[in-house]
Amino acid sequence: MTIKYVFLVSRQGKLRLSKWYSTATAKQISKTIKEVSQLVLARKPKQCNFIEHRDTKVVYRKYASLYFIVGVELDDNELLILEFIHRYVECLDRYFGNVCELDLIFHFQKAYFVLDEMVMAGELQESSKRTVLRAIAQQDETETKENAERGWGDINDLVELLDKY
């Protein structure tokens, strides 16, 4: 499984996350995102989840208003990539607790951290959800502790709670 890139766009075509595992210039990246999003957003629900874009196979899946889009090598297992996308969404869901698009907007860096525990060098890194979440939780704990040392406390979280409800 060699993932070239992962990115998330909303139904309106807004980029929510993007990570490139193959080397590409900023220009190429934004061009790819633009072209692939257009192709994906135009697809109908019953159609298959794969399209081809240049020398890349694009596997995508829609969750609520968000499209998870993964570009892989042509000889990769598309069906398994779908499972991977689902696994990623499950992890996000468990991490945020019933994840919604707003979570990913305000905590995009967390979404990156989760992804980094699942994929490295374009290869799948961990097949256990529990291991992924445990690693994230422990790292978050350190970060919270350090932020407390900076004297910032948990104000962020309070504000966020107010936002949500």
Partner: protein
């Protein structure tokens, strides 16, 4: 001013009503961040600012100014700073940036940190941005971390090693043994990483591949362990499948290590069969596993039952309702056609069905597979099926469909009549998408290979088709050209005339007499005489209202026209607004050609001149010029010249460039390891192999290959790759030492049609005895150049070589090969290959033609660079088609005088 928190920034952007507002907010914020970077060196500020930059990056605004700050942040001792800093580095930097060298040190420090998560961050960053240089600098660290006691570190180190090896394959060796140990790790994450690492290593080095083969038993054991657990541990299961991610990764690695190794394939046979039969494929996960298993089974030299099982599973996928599953099945079957043609052919009907699917991805795959399935036996139904789809096909597919249809019709169609008929259909439906090359092939086919009755029918078809519709660009071009050339055949009475002579004048005399009995019958049978039916109005054709494509089951319409009708049609085309200017130029030429066909009908001539004069004032310069010149040509004072100018063109003689054989299956091109996926049938080892690589063995291989040829053109590719240059007509053969192993030289394979043989044999053929007489004259006789030396004369074909030399290049001997067809029948697909000893270099230019009609000849230039001035010895291979038979022969020649060097 600066917003203090990331959250405030996000909120500020979210309330923006317009893009301009958003730009403003970001511009102000960016400026504030920049200032803050300049004035404030605290990591706390940086921590916040870099997070804000990450957000700005996602919005698509420039953030390069933050690159250095990310590096500084990553150098902070705090974990949270590093976490954000490294994230910034992976997003804002790539391996091509020089600033990266600054990163090496902090990565190195962090990889020696006592905190697992900091080590993890460093490894993760390394795997994302490492350049060759960084990979070299840090590889010792990575290697050490592979032995870490923590599984979290081990898996990340293994994946960082993947990146290291990708950037510099020479670093592979130290990872090999360690990866092997990791394979049996009890953590699935580590196993996954180890499998990825070994896969990568095997792709890069032969040594690793040899080692990898030894791992097969371990892989089998691990996979069996996954399969046998009745109740998979909750941690790793997906929909009751035990860790499908690991299963697929192992199956994939099996494919890599067992490729080309029959032993390994045999070891895997049981476990693959087990996966294929026991996995429930009604869920996406199950289908993913089966799919990987099938691909592996097909890609390694596995036993036939397993391969058939794999194809049948994919066949079942095709009939499944899930579009995703159907998509992968179609894609995989395209690749499988190469080796498993008969099994795949069984699913043809389903594939054809899929060409009409509602999903463009499925349609694309189905089309590819349909073309890949075409062979000599099924070409007729397949082409018919695809032609049915062509009118309703997606615009983006049409050019490639039309191109591949032309290729399929040309490569596999045997009866010329059928080929012409199908090409006309392609033109009439997809004429806007036919490329010029295919069009010329078609015209060439009619002009030089078709007999007169076929030419007549094609012209009559064209006339009828153009009366229906002139919207297809290349159809108009082809049709108008044919009408111009063969107008005499188009008119009614030419049936009789053509049998007697080709003389134009004579035909016209008869044509003026009108319809004869036979033709009346034909018209009667049609029920409606064309003249009355064709509604070509004064002002043009049926424009705008394009008639539906002719149903494939209907015959192509045929029209018999009066000369006046022809002029009227061409005039209408000239006046049409949808015909391209270039086509109008050809139409003008066709029109003036009519004057030669109907020279004795003054009324026709005058209506031609009438039309021409209408276009003398055209806005288009070329049209205007042609109209004026042609009008002049038709005037009385040029009577003597005209006949010569407007008479029928001789059949074109230019070389026909054959279709590349992978045109019909591009998937095959992507599968680089084609030659080694098959079981013994074709083993490249034979070419360079041991003593057992005897003539018999090679012959068997060649025979098998020949059989495969009949099944599908794709198997030709196997040959193509086996003996790369042997099937290409334009190639520079440089006898490379690698293809001539010592063994091949000791025992030249007499009958194997392999390049290795060709070269190896030539280099050891005993030096010819040069007669003393020749030697004495050697000093002076430049006269030996320019003579024709006969090198071959058999099967009705004679080949001579004429050496010559250019003063500019004294070390290069140019040979002009001339192929005389002295037999009774025409020769086609002429292919001539030459090999020379290693000390000489060879260049073969394309022949002047591949088709040699009886009594004629073609030539081909060959250049030999002979710096050491050694005696010229040639080994040649000739293949051609004559009378439907494929002829092949190989022969040597060394009879040049010793002066010809």
């Amino acid at each position: 001013m600066s917003f203090f928190r990331l959250k405030d920034l996000i909120r500020a952007v979210r309330v923006c009503k317009t893009a301009a507002d958003e730009r403003n907010v970001i511009r102000r914020e960016s400026a504030a961040i920049r200032t803050s970077f300049k004035e404030n060196n605290s990591q706390d500020a940086r921590y916040v600012n870099v997070q804000k930059l990450l957000y700005i990056y996602l919005l698509g605004f420039p953030v390069q100014f933050g690159q250095l700050e990310c590096l500084k942040l990553a150098a902070s001792p705090r974990f949270s700073d590093k976490r954000v800093g490294y994230l910034g580095i992976t997003l804002f930097l790539d391996e091509k940036q020089e600033i990266l060298t600054l990163l090496t040190n902090s990565l190195k420090n962090d990889m020696n940190n006592s905190d697992d998560y900091i080590v993890g961050l460093a490894l993760s960053t390394l795997s994302n941005v490492a350049s060759t240089e960084v990979a070299n600098d840090l590889m010792d660290e990575v290697e050490r971390l592979l032995d870490s006691s923590r599984s979290y570190i081990r898996k990340k180190a293994a994946l960082a090693a993947v990146r290291v090896v990708r950037r510099d394959p020479e670093l592979a060796t130290p990872f090999l043994q360690r990866a092997r140990a990791l394979l049996s790790d009890k953590h699935h994450g580590v196993q996954l990483a180890a499998v990825a690492l070994i896969t990568e290593l095997c792709n890069h080095s032969q040594e690793a591949l040899d080692e990898g083969r030894k791992l097969v038993p371990i892989l089998v054991r691990q996979l069996r362990a996954l399969l046998s657990s009745d109740s998979p541990s909750a941690e790793y299961e997906v929909a009751s499948f035990s860790d499908p991610f690991l299963q697929v990764a192992i199956l994939r690695l099996m494919r890599v290590v067992a490729r080309g190794s029959q032993e390994a394939a045999d070891e895997l046979n049981d476990v693959l069969t087990h996966v294929a039969t026991r996995t429930d494929w009604f869920k996406n996960v199950g289908a993913a596993i089966i799919y990987e298993c099938a691909v592996t089974a097909l890609a390694i030299p596995s036993e036939q039952p397993l391969r058939v099982l794999a194809i049948n599973l994919l066949g079942k996928f095709l009939a499944y309702t899930d579009n995703n599953v159907r998509y992968v099945a179609l894609a995989t079957l395209s690749a499988a056609v190469i080796t498993e043609a008969p099994s795949v052919q069984r699913h043809r009907a389903t594939v054809v069905q899929c060409m009409r699917d509602s999903d463009i991805s499925i349609r694309r795959r189905a089309l590819d597979l349909s073309f890949a399935l075409i062979n000599a036996q099924n070409v007729k139904p397949m082409v018919t099926d695809i032609l049915r789809v062509l009118p309703i096909a997606d615009l983006e597919f049409k050019s490639s469909m039309v191109y591949r249809l032309s290729a399929a019709i040309t490569l596999f169609g045997d009866a010329i009549e059928w080929r012409i008929e199908r090409m006309l259909r392609v033109l009439s439906v997809g004429g806007n998408y036919v490329n010029t090359r295919d069009l010329f092939k078609f015209i060439r086919l009619i002009a030089s290979e078709a007999d007169e009755s076929l030419q007549r029918r094609a012209t009559r078809n064209c006339f009828a088709l153009l009366e229906r519709d002139v919207s297809q660009d290349k159809m108009v071009l082809a049709g108008v050209w044919l009408i111009g050339e063969y107008a005499d055949l188009l008119v009614a009475s030419s049936t009789k005339a053509s049998t007697s002579t080709e003389n134009d004048n004579k035909i016209e005399k008869e044509s003026s007499t009108g319809l004869d009995e036979d033709d009346l019958d034909i018209l009667g049978a049609l029920g409606k005489p064309i003249q009355k039916e064709s509604p070509v109005d004064e002002d043009g054709l049926r424009q705008g209202n394009i008639p539906a494509a002719i149903d494939i089951d209907e015959e192509l319409p045929e029209a018999i026209a009066e000369p006046a009708d022809i002029v009227r049609l061409l005039t209408a085309i000239l006046n049409s607004s949808i015909v391209s200017t270039a086509n109008k130029h050809v139409t003008l030429t066709a029109l003036v050609k009519l004057s030669g066909r109907f020279a004795n009908q003054p009324s026709i001539l005058s209506s031609i001149r009438q039309t021409l004069s209408n276009h003398k004032h055209s806005m288009d310069c070329e049209t205007q010029q042609r109209a004026t010149e042609f009008d002049k040509l038709l005037s009385n004072e040029l009577d003597s010249v005209r006949t010569g100018v407007v008479e029928r063109m001789p059949a074109p003689e230019y070389a026909d460039v054959p279709y590349e054989e992978y045109v019909l299956n591009p998937t095959a091109m992507r599968m680089k390891a084609l030659t080694i996926i098959k079981r013994p049938a074709i083993q490249p080892a034979d070419l360079i192999g041991d003593e057992a690589a005897s003539a018999a063995n090679a012959e068997a291989a060649a025979q098998k290959a020949a059989e495969a040829n009949k099944q599908s053109v794709m198997s030709d590719l196997l040959n193509l790759m086996d003996e790369a240059p042997a099937t290409s007509t334009v190639s520079t053969l440089s006898p490379s030492p690698s293809t001539t192993s010592p063994v091949a030289q000791q025992a030249p394979l007499q009958s194997a049609n392999t390049l290795a043989d060709l070269l190896g044999g030539a280099s050891i053929s005993p030096p010819t005895n040069v007669s003393p007489a020749a030697e004495t004259t050697a000093a002076f006789s430049s006269a030996d150049f320019g003579k024709e030396y006969e090198v071959y004369n058999s099967n009705g074909i004679r080949i001579t070589l004429t050496p010559s030399k250019k003063p500019k290049a004294p070390a290069v001997v140019e040979l002009l090969a001339t192929f005389y067809n002295e037999g009774e029948v025409a020769i086609s697909e002429l292919n001539f290959l030459v090999a020379v000893p290693k000390s000489q270099k060879l260049q073969i230019l394309p022949p002047s033609g591949q088709h040699v009609s009886a009594g004629s000849s073609v030539t081909q230039h060959i250049k030999i660079a002979n710096p050491s001035k050694t005696h010229l010895r040639l080994r040649m291979k000739l293949s051609f088609m004559a009378d439907g038979q494929n002829n092949e022969s190989m022969f040597d020649y060394s009879g040049f005088p010793s002066t010809v060097v």
